[in-house]
């Protein structure tokens, strides 16, 4: 697993195809849970842990599982890790367990985990898959925590429960605000991403044109030798 591939997976996971903003996957927890930073962080880290483990196991078993039973087998492995996380949280972090509530079992059907398992883990070796799981999870955690921050500061005027000021708009606390904030953040992220992407594409294009024009010059200064070849 060369350093370069590691960097590329990292860039892919967090920036290029950030699961929440670029691929728009895993929208159910992003909208429902991100009403406070504590919930978002808890959900993000839980999803990251499950992603790493399930990606590693799935890529370890990828040659054993026949193709017809791929989806049920992947879901089963993911469900196991979700139950492990649920037991762990119930025992050691009960506050997070109650606040995540029904959305903890719903991580099983979270499109990010199954999506990464199917598109990446079932085709790459174990270490790459684990790294991909880590960075996709980080991308998801950053995105959902950012949303949690915005929605909590605007919706409840507090961060992690500590009151900042008494001014609070309920709109951002409930589902309607979640939709709006999520939509605007997708637009913002894509606009920024496209600006850098176009700059990079333009740079490549200019280099490409220079390279092709150099090739043409090289062809020009010895046309005499093969000119007759062309006529023949």
């Amino acid at each position: 697993m060369t350093g370069q591939k590691f960097k590329e997976i990292a860039k892919n996971g967090v920036l290029v195809n950030n699961p929440t903003f670029r691929l728009v996957l895993g929208t159910c927890p992003t909208l429902a849970i991100s009403s406070s930073v504590f919930n978002s962080l808890g959900m993000g880290l839980a999803v990251t842990f499950i992603l790493i483990c399930s990606n590693a196991i799935i890529s370890a078993l990828r040659k054993v599982i026949p193709n017809e039973v791929r989806i049920p087998a992947f879901i089963l492995i993911i469900a196991t890790f979700v139950t492990v996380v649920r037991m762990f949280l119930y025992k050691y972090v009960p506050a997070l367990y109650t606040s995540l509530g029904v959305f903890l079992p719903l991580i099983v059907v979270n499109c990010i985990i199954l999506g990464r398992a199917e598109s990446f883990a079932s085709k790459n070796p174990v270490l790459d898959s684990a790294a991909d799981g880590l960075f996709t999870g980080l991308g998801f955690t950053l995105a959902i925590t950012l949303m949690g921050l915005i929605r909590e500061v605007l919706g409840a005027g507090s961060i992690l429960g500590y009151k900042l000021w008494d001014f609070s708009i309920d709109f951002f606390g409930n589902t309607a605000g979640a939709f709006l904030v999520y939509g605007l953040m997708i637009a913002g992220f894509n606009a920024l991403y496209e600006k850098f992407e176009n700059k990079r594409k333009r740079k490549n294009y200019i280099e490409e044109m220079q390279a092709s024009s150099l090739a043409i010059q090289a062809k020009e200064n010895e046309p005499a030798s093969n000119a007759d070849v062309k006529e023949a």
Binding site: A73, T80, V84, M87, T98, V102, E152
Partner: protein
């Protein structure tokens, strides 16, 4: 399709793989569940710690006599006698936001032979209570010192979350009513 063919066939391979994954995960979960099992005593200890800090532990779990335990606004779930002589009642109030319910721990302290509310804290609430973050400690402090029915309006407890406040008020009232029958 002889048995030999069936054993080599694709379907058999699928069933075997699924079965193995299921059995391994089932076994792992069963063992982990026992390792990380949360015993009921620990749950109660957790409740006590959340209300009156650590250092206080359980004296006796009193049994609840059924006829005073529940009204149509709320039910008393647990009554604990602490080693400091105070009573800790866990009660659940109904008619919360979107018909959810909120359960709280109410600490009663004996003062001149009347049980007065010393502290109220939120235990847990059903997932539909999206506005629980608006309930503040200053709101809950309004119940302190009460020994009879709480009559204040829900908006005094927390502005903007009147439904959740009514659920909390119901819980405290049912606990107070229960404690009045105790002394």
């Amino acid at each position: 399709m002889t048995v030999k063919q069936f054993l080599q066939s694709k379907i058999f391979k699928c069933i075997i793989v699924l079965l193995c994954i299921a059995l391994v995960s089932g076994g792992l979960l069963a063992i982990l569940n026992d390792l990380w099992a949360v015993s009921p005593e620990e749950l109660i200890q957790r409740g006590i710690k959340s209300v009156c800090g650590d250092g206080v532990n359980l004296e006796k779990v009193c049994d609840i006599n059924k006829d005073y335990a529940s009204t149509n606004d709320g039910t008393v779930q647990q009554v604990l006698l602490l080693d400091t002589g105070d009573y800790l009642v866990k009660a659940q109030g109904k008619h919360g936001f979107q018909e959810g319910n909120v359960s709280c721990y109410i600490l009663f302290h004996l003062e001149d032979s009347v049980y007065k509310v010393q502290k109220v804290s939120i235990a847990d609430y059903s997932s539909s209570q999206t506005l629980m973050s608006k309930i503040t400690d200053s709101g809950l402090a309004k119940f302190i010192g009460l020994s009879s029915e709480a009559t204040m309006k829900p908006s005094e407890i927390a502005t903007g979350a009147s439904y959740s406040s009514t659920a909390i008020k119901n819980a405290v009232n049912v606990a107070i009513a229960y404690m009045q029958t105790m002394n």
